[in-house]
Amino acid sequence: MPLLNNISAINQALDQEMERDQSVVVYGEDVGYEGGVFRATVGLQKKYGEKRCFDTPLAEAGIVGSAVGMAINGMKPVVEMQFSGFVLPALNQIIGHVARFRNRTRGKYHLPMVIRMPYGGGVRALEHHSESIEDIFAQTPGLKVVIPSTPYDSKGLLLAAIRDPDPVIFLEPKRIYRAFKQEVPEEDYIIPIGKAKIVKEGTDITVVTWGALVREAQKAAKVLEEKGVNIELIDLRTISPLDKGTIIDSVQKTGRFLVIHEAYKSFGPGAELISIVNEGAFLYLEAPPARLTGFDVTVPLPMGEHHFIITPEQIVDKVMEIVSY
């Protein structure tokens, strides 16, 4: 099996799906001729022509809004927002329309479309290039929100997203676009949306995270093992709809819970996870379910970003705090 990094896995998924399904079209700013600023769409215009992979004018609402029309008229658009910070001009389309067409028309129209975007920090970037905004999408009924953490998942989840009959927000942790490689099967495969993955079984505490932080948590897990603490690590994979079952089962087993994310703490996604743990495993809890998250401050620019980034050491310390509660 070829070794791929995340960005090549995404590229391969797009390529194979465009090959398989003529209705898939891929577009956005710099997506066509250049192949994307991160090269996620490289080669696609050459292979499938300008009709199916192309550049657009610089207007995110136009990109998403036109994708709505495309999806209604028989296409499966996979559009790119150059960075998740630039999806904001398209929120009127996403929250106001993309999420609502099926319900608004009681099923007459539905939108098989994917909105891809790099998200998250850790790449020492300019303002608006480091945010984690999964929560805004997750709280919107009608959207699905998917975040891969490995090349294998990137391909399998993206293929699932494109084939999903409902709109999927596909958030790509840009920090790990090229951070590591993994064997990725050439064949077609799908990872189901809505299912979390138990990355590592354990007994002492349930740790839930997603995206780039899965790797950091894995590093922490090793250190913790040496300290005699055995964490159960869950990669959420899908933020919405949440796989409550997997989480609750795990907490019922371990009695302790930590959610880790880079998004802001207050009113962030971790709060929802703590709530469902309360709702589903209250009597099993041996310590308060906890969160390790970004601070409630605008993501700092590079010279201050180190304060904001969550490290394996912090994870270790936080887990130790909870298990010794």
């Binding site: 001009p89 539905h110 009924p141």
Partner: protein
């Protein structure tokens, strides 16, 4: 070509029928058979009757919010009539005449305003998008429909509507720009009814015409008398034909007037003079077409009366049916969020069903 002869930058506006129903531009009279003319006039009559009755129902407390099309019938019917069944209609929210012509059952129109999503679940073969409440945001959908038509190599045209107020939204410009860049088969119709709720057209933009906004996108633009069915039809027909031939989008500004309130919750006397409304009543698109049809001897007062009686009955009966429709079942508010209810939604739905059925509430 009309778009060349009627350059909005030169202050020109396409007019064919004057307010007395006389032809002022013989050479431009579109090729519409008597039957077609009657068909279009009848659609306008039905739209008007619906508006009048809806306002009555509302005063009787039987109707929720309703946005009447009153006075704008020629803009809506004249433009949609230039399209075909296979073409797409992308409404703003006040194009009753166009929807009826397109084949949306009146019952659904009422269901929509009555407050249920079923009102937007149009029959299979009606290629119309639902009403779009966020102003101007539907225009990009229209462009996307056309982008798909282009990719598929199909020659369906999309006609999309927006108000004068809507032209100030950023998305208006994004959509027109995309349409021009991707050369989509889109006809944009601005229903310039002089108001965005209370805000008059002159406060909306310093541009002399809305049609001239086309210049910003390298697209043809034309202003027409929106109360003149023939002018609206002629301009739209040309635009539709061009779009179908692959020659790209057009912007049409139809100058009309909203004779009624913005919606049933609006009191227009706060922000405009009765004299202005009176003046526009004189330019009523129905009166003028009626005179033309009577002059043509294909219509008369007797026909008008019996047609109106028929429509009144039809509208009343339809509304009564709608009133019996009743509340939306619990399941429906959960069922259409996704193709399949998520486990989370199943849980919420089951729990609430049990709760309400358990007699606890």
């Amino acid at each position: 070509m009309l778009v060349e002869k009627y350059n909005p930058l030169e202050g020109k506006r396409l007019e064919i029928l004057d307010k007395e129903g006389n032809i002022i531009n013989e050479s431009l009279v579109p090729d519409l058979s008597d039957e077609r003319l009657i068909e279009l006039y009848k659609t306008m009559l039905l739209a008007r009757m619906t508006d009048i009755k809806a306002l009555q129902y509302q005063r009787q407390g039987r109707m929720l919010t309703y946005a009447p099309n009153l006075g704008q019938e020629a803009t809506q019917v004249g433009s949609i009539a230039a399209t075909e069944k296979r073409d797409w209609l992308v409404p703003a929210f006040r194009e009753l005449g166009a929807w009826l012509y397109k084949g949306v059952p009146l019952e659904q129109v009422f269901l929509y305003w009555y407050g249920t999503e079923e009102g937007s679940n149009f029959p299979e073969d009606v290629k119309m998008l639902p009403i779009s409440v966020p102003i101007a945001s539907q225009l990009n959908h229209a462009v996307g429909l056309g982008m798909a038509s282009n990719i598929k190599g199909e020659d369906d045209v999309t006609i999309a509507y927006v108000g004068d107020g809507g032209t100030s939204q950023g998305e208006f410009s994004e959509a027109l720009n995309f349409a021009a860049v991707f050369n989509t088969p889109t006809v944009f119709v601005i229903s310039n009814n002089h108001f965005a709720i209370s805000v008059p057209r002159r406060s909306q933009t310093k541009a002399k015409t809305l049609a001239q906004k086309a210049v910003a996108f390298g697209m043809p633009g034309i202003q027409v008398d929106g109360n003149d069915l023939l002018a609206v039809y002629a301009a739209t027909k040309e635009a539709v034909d061009r779009a179908r031939r692959g020659e790209g989008p057009t912007l049409i500004e139809a100058v009309t007037y909203r004779l009624g309130p913005h919606t049933t919750s609006d009191d227009p006397t706060i922000y405009r003079e009765e004299s202005e409304v009176e003046e526009w009543r004189g330019k009523d698109p129905l009166k003028r077409l009626k005179k033309y049809l009577i002059n043509k001897k294909i219509w008369d007062e007797g026909k008008e009366e019996s047609q109106n009686d028929e429509y009144e009955k039809f509208v009343n009966e339809t509304f009564k049916k709608v009133e019996k429709y009743g509340l939306v079942p619990l399941e429906d508010i959960f069922k259409y969020q996704y193709e399949e209810m998520t486990p989370n939604l199943v849980e919420q739905y089951e729990a609430y069903k049990k709760y309400t059925e358990g007699g606890e509430k």
